[in-house]
Amino acid sequence: MASEPPVTTGPQGEVFDLGYQRYDGPREGRSRARKAIYWDGVKLILGIGRGPKSKILPLLLFIGAMFPALVFVIILSVAGDVAGFLFDGPAGYNGMISTLLIMFGAIMAPELFTPDRKDRVLDLYLVRPITSTDYAMARVAAFMSIVLALVYSGQIVLQLGLILTATEPWGYIKDNWQDIPRFIGAGFLVALFITAIPMAVATFTNRRAYASVFVIGLFMVTAVTVEILTQVESCPGHARSMNGEIILDELECEPLTGDAAKYIELLNFGAAPLFMNDLVFDIESRSELHDAIPIGAYGVYTVIPLALIWWQYRRTRI
Amino acid sequence: MTPAPSIEINSVSKWYGSVVAVNDVSFNVMPGITGLLGPNGAGKTTILHMMAGLAKPSDGDIRVLGEPIRGNYKLYSRIGVMSEHEAVYNVFTGRQFVEFSAKMQGVDDVPAAVDRAIELVNLADAQHRPLGTYSRGMRQRMRLAATLVHDPEVLILDEPLNGTDPRQRLEFHDLMQKLASEGRTILISSHILEEVETLAETILLVVSGKLAAAGDYRAIREKLDDRPFQLRIVCSDPRKLAAELVKLSAIDSVAVEDDGSLTVFSRNVAELQSSIARLAKAADVRLIQLEPLDESLESVFSYVVSR
């Protein structure tokens, strides 16, 4: 680049060299690459820089995530505690939007992995000075960030609403300040879960639709199957005849699978993060098992998918 | 009496809705090797498909070996078509693939015909291996064998040299010349102009759905009279020769290059070429080299396309 400004008066003239110049500037290595891939992932999901159509879905999902909170706050300000029929405040919020979160994960997670693989853009990343796992983890981090934002957006609306509609805002905060670190912690655990399984599924197929359908199917089928196996009760009992009347004694109801039901419950993936949510908010556990076991199940459902993503990208070759 | 044309294209057009892929094209293809050339999207593939009977012209008619081609199953067995992309079942062995083609074409003695075809493309060693193990060039050759197995009189080949290596291209060249010398009609469409230049006796150049040029490419070059010929002359005294050349009315301009050679632009190149030796001798200048710079098929192609 020229160090002196060109002369613009008088009879002199200059021609500037527009030919190819070498690059002598900074080269920042893998950290710059990871940042770039991360932000590119964020923009991909939010549809930034890709035209209006790609922004519709993320926008709807964000509104969807905040909507129950808005409704709750409105009812609260108008009719008071009645709002509790919707869900149990911050503790119940994640359960409320769980279906929405799963939909988000199923539909949006593949966007970060499958197009690059299908269009073979991944090859162009693999020949740059980064590892394949740098790429994968930056994408996972991008997705996690968005899901966190999704989870927290509603919670923040809720908290603000609860504080502002309280008769004594300061008092409310003094009594309920624990809700804030709790929703942050629970939100993180939920977001991690919603990131792990859908992104792992997206790692193994090149078709976005297949990945989405598989994830939705996985949650639905496990939820329904486990429900049938654990909630439907058969009630064996005695029927006697006495004085011409039929008397039923001692109905003992138990789930179809008997004692095993409480373990089978663990197979309902979608319940795992909600269990962790309840743990954080100190609510009575839905499971009859000792806490360590559902925590372990949650660990399996998050760590294993993330490990699979790592492993699969590690061995990816052009 | 001139031989009958093998392929006759009469005022053929093909449109898809408002897109006119082929626009009122007429030409005849004679026995021997003809090259079909044109930029991407010019309509070459559409023309080839129609010639093979795979597509119906929207207007005009096509006759192959004297008969209308469309739906003419008996005629199909006298034509061999190799399209640019073709799904090949990788689990088949090369031999099975050629056998399949032979059976589809109703060949009488299948094993003998398959042997002969595979021998022609020099793949006898690899014939029992699955196609999935072949390199791209080998797959291309096996596809050619499948196209030849029924001994067709007319061969229509779309980008047959895709992925082939120099050695295979030399063999392909020899094979095509052999087949042509047997009286067959071969129509090759290719983007690799340097190959078509050595192989084809005539070319057909299609641009934007229309036939832009036909015939021997050097004759075509001479008809492009809005483009003066460029020649390069190396001699012992360039400026002296240049001074003499400029006096000729056949010369448009003479440029002296950095390396001392002369670049001559001439609209009446025949006159220049016939008088250059005399001129050099009279000026006592040694003539070392004389070469046309834009007479190649590539130059012709580029000039015709940019008209």
């Binding site: 527009l18 690059y23 290595g29 890709r50 980064i130 | 983007h191 040694r286």
Partner: protein
């Protein structure tokens, strides 16, 4: 000047398949062609130099380091794959800026480099349209641009003219030549088309069956011989007679007359014979080799 790429006894086996066997060669500055059929080992060699696979034995070095041991070595290499590899919904500009950053350039520099590179490869207003709308030729330019945006020392091109029509091929070869000779970026061009190498490369390495069959400057293979070819439309016999009267032997081959060991005396005799016959001289030039000769003369597999 140490070589940019160095292969020493480079061997790669995939099970029982031999992809490369004991290949030893250097790639220096300038444009080097890697010529050979599919399956000859070209793509394997490229993947080894990019550090994507490890050799079975021997070594591949890029600027003195082994690329399959650290990823940082790739920072000064560029790669233009043969296959489609571009996203469709972003613009060339955005895509290049992103890739520049993935190669380590900070955002502001990435932006200016992108603008410069797109200008150098000849993409103007199209740079702000989505890549999905580009023609094949434009796409090839974007592919090349992403290989250049981080100012590599050497770019590996894999069949860069594949699928292009003659006009597009001409433009791409022109661009490659410019990149190698004007921009000063070294190039290794892997292709099965001799014409591509003859038109752009300074040196050629020929691979066959995983081994280096030949290597040397392209000019070695395409140099002028002392055999003179004189192509005339007519008067062949008259000219032959006139030449032999002066002691010069000419043999007719097709439309050409072939004169061996043509020196100054022979040139003058030819000129005079042409002048007196008035024949139309189409071409007068020494017989030149072509890369095809490598495959014509050498026995198969050597």
């Amino acid at each position: 000047m140490p070589p940019l790429l160095q292969a020493a006894g480079l061997t790669k086996h995939y099970g029982s398949t031999i992809a490369l066997e004991d290949a030893t060669f250097d790639v220096h500055e300038g444009v080097t062609g890697l010529l050979g059929p599919n399956g000859a080992g070209k793509s394997t060699a490229i993947k080894l130099f990019l550090g994507l696979i490890r050799p079975t034995s021997g070594s591949a070095e890029v600027l003195g380091t082994k690329p399959y041991e650290t990823v940082e070595g790739r920072a000064r290499l560029g790669y233009m794959p043969e296959h489609e590899c571009l996203p469709s919904s972003v613009t060339a500009s955005e895509f290049l800026m992103h890739m520049a950053q993935v190669s380590g350039l900070p955002p502001a520099h990435a932006r200016t480099r992108t603008a410069d590179i797109l200008r150098h490869v000849g993409l103007d207003e199209e740079r702000y349209r989505a890549i999905g709308e580009y023609s094949t030729g434009m796409r090839q330019r974007v592919k090349l641009a992403q290989a250049l945006v981080h100012d590599p020392v050497l770019v590996l091109l894999d069949e860069p003219t594949a699928g292009l029509d003659p006009g597009g091929r001409e433009e791409m070869l022109d661009l490659i030549s410019r990149t190698g000779h004007s921009f000063g970026i070294s190039i290794m061009l892997s292709t099965h088309l001799m014409g591509d190498i003859e038109r752009t490369a300074d040196r050629v390495i020929v691979l066959e069956g995983g081994r280096v069959a030949q290597e040397g400057p392209v000019s070695d293979f395409t140099k002028d011989t002392t055999t003179l070819l004189v192509e005339v439309d007519d008067h062949h016999d008259e000219i032959i007679t006139a030449l032999s009267a002066g002691g010069v032997t000419a043999i007719r081959r097709g439309q050409s007359l072939v004169i061996e060991d043509a020196g100054d005396a022979e040139l003058d005799a030819v000129r005079d014979a042409l002048a007196s016959s008035g024949a139309r001289l189409r071409r007068m030039a020494p017989h030149r080799g072509t890369l095809t000769d490598i495959f014509r003369d050498a026995p198969h597999g050597v």
